[in-house]
């Protein structure tokens, strides 16, 4: 299972990479593997305000729909429109081209509620048992 070392993670298997107060978000390799082929992504509205751990995206695979929760609170400033026609980018490159949204972070302290790469790796280990 691939894990990006400098990203932060949620228990619901979202990742976030924060640079200059802008949080880029997506779902982890574990999540895309569990979902299978992604067929549709319901993106959030740009300018929408989201709370940390609030459902803000829905990702559908062939057989099921899953809620995705925002790893950080803030204002959605950009969404990945490429996912509208090629949602499979999430399967192909979940930490890169398969990013879902960028959020202008409201409170950087919220990042203390997230896991580091090592913590997430250990968390995945606990799920495997």
């Amino acid at each position: 299972m691939e894990i990006e070392e400098n990203f932060l993670y949620t228990k619901e298997h979202e990742w976030v990479s924060i640079e200059d107060n802008i949080a880029t978000m997506g779902i982890t390799d574990y999540a895309q593997e569990a979902l299978g082929d992604v067929t549709y992504v319901e993106l959030p509205e740009e300018e929408a305000e989201v709370e940390q751990f609030e459902q803000f995206v829905s990702v559908e695979s062939v057989k099921a729909a899953s809620d995705i929760y925002s790893p950080m609170g803030g204002r959605v400033i950009e969404v990945n429109r490429k996912l509208e026609d090629t949602p499979g980018l999430i399967n192909k490159d979940c930490y890169g081209k398969g990013w879902i949204a960028k959020v202008d972070v409201r409170d950087m302290d919220e990042s203390t509620n997230l896991m580091s790469a090592d913590e997430y790796r250990n968390y995945l280990d606990t799920l495997a048992h």
């Binding site: 299978g36 082929d37 067929t39 549709y40 319901e42 559908e60 695979s61 062939v62 057989k63 099921a64």
Partner: protein, 361 residues
């Protein structure tokens, strides 16, 4: 708490080959070997092998009418030629569907009934209670394995293993030998493609499975794609479009009913015109209807419930089957699916969603 799951003769093989496993109808089954979209493509264009050993097989001996079998199932069976099969169902006294099933006529007084895995016990009980004393009944579900070879190239693969298979027309069967092992093979399936269902002894299943897989063109596949394929063909699945609370008229089984004969549930069914009926929706987007979603008309009135939904790789759109009010099921009508908070547009269409299958080629 772990729920007990039955294993097929191939469960260990599926696990060893890295299939993602899932509990289905009380059985430990492969959900998928590869991404479902890849498995879909392979089945529609080439040929895939499914383990369907979970399904139930009953052996009945006796005349069509003398045995009581004719009165248990809704379809005509007395006129069936030997070596043909016929789809239908059996009903409870109040006209609800106990199960859908296929009757195989192996001889003038020799029948095999194929039923859904989750219903084996209750179906066997229903047969035992309703067959006449002169008939013999055997639940052979745990002695009979079933492999489905489905896809446009299935005939090419199978004719080398089971010479004469190319003679089988749609919904007929015969006895063949694969590697010397007697198999009953029917030209039937659940995918909409040319295909065969191979019934073989439980203990020989692994050997036959491996023999078929020696053909480089054949790939193993799972139940995940099977569900996509069947929804694209608008085939009903028990527990979704068929239930004891759903009448065969509501479920669209009317064309399989023999109106000339008496059968269990007939009175209840004929006295009760269907107020709802099965309908088919294509989403206006890639968003898929899901079982349990409500269906609304253009004015926002609730008119039905989605019973099965999936993304259709063929249509590149969401598709769904639902039970809808009779007035709203005509092709071309615009509807919505979802819930009160979030509704997505769809259009009612004619069956099947996928019209290019090799089924009858």
């Amino acid at each position: 708490m772990d729920t007990f799951l039955n294993n097929t003769p191939l469960t260990e093989e599926h696990v060893a080959l890295g299939a993602k496993m899932v509990g289905f109808g009380g059985w430990n089954m492969p959900l998928q070997y590869e991404p479902i979209l890849s498995e879909w493509e392979y089945n529609r264009k080439t040929v895939s092998l499914f383990d369907c050993s979970h399904m139930g097989e009953f052996m009945i001996k006796g005349g069509a009418k003398d045995s009581g079998l004719d009165r248990i199932v809704i379809q005509a069976i007395a006129d069936m030629p030997v070596n043909s099969c016929r789809y239908g169902a059996m009903l409870n006294d109040s006209g609800g569907v106990i199960d859908d099933l296929i009757v195989y006529r192996k001889g003038p007084q020799d029948w095999m009934i194929v039923v859904n895995a989750a219903n084996i016990e209750k179906d066997a009980r229903h047969f035992r209670e309703n067959l006449n004393a002169s008939a013999s009944f055997e639940d052979a579900s745990f002695k009979t394995a079933k492999l489905d070879l489905q896809g446009p190239q299935s005939r090419d693969v199978l004719k080398a293993l089971a010479p004469g298979i190319e003679q089988l027309s749609y919904y007929t069967f015969d006895q063949f030998k694969i590697n010397g092992v007697p198999c009953l093979i029917s030209r039937t399936g659940y995918t909409g493609e040319l295909g065969y269902e191979i019934y073989c002894p439980w203990e020989k299943c692994k050997e036959i499975w491996k023999t078929i897989l020696t053909h480089a063109t054949v790939k193993t596949t799972g139940l995940g794609v099977r569900d996509v394929l069947r929804v694209e063909m608008c085939y009903s699945l028990y527990g979704h479009e068929l239930e004891e609370t759903i009448s065969p008229l509501e479920a669209g089984l009317d064309k399989f009913i023999d109106g000339q004969k008496d059968f269990i549930g007939r009175q209840a069914v004929s006295g009760k015109p269907a107020s709802r009926t099965i309908g088919y929706l294509t989403s206006a987007s890639r968003k898929s209807p899901r079982a349990g979603n409500k269906i609304f008309d253009a004015a926002g009135n609730e008119i039905g419930l989605v019973t099965s939904g999936t993304f259709s790789p063929a249509l590149q759109a969401g598709i769904g089957i639902g039970m809808m009010s009779r007035h709203s099921k005509d092709a071309g009508i615009g509807v919505f699916f979802g819930d009160e908070k979030s509704k997505s547009a769809a259009v009612v269409v004619k069956r099947p969603f996928y019209k290019h299958g090799s089924l009858k080629s």
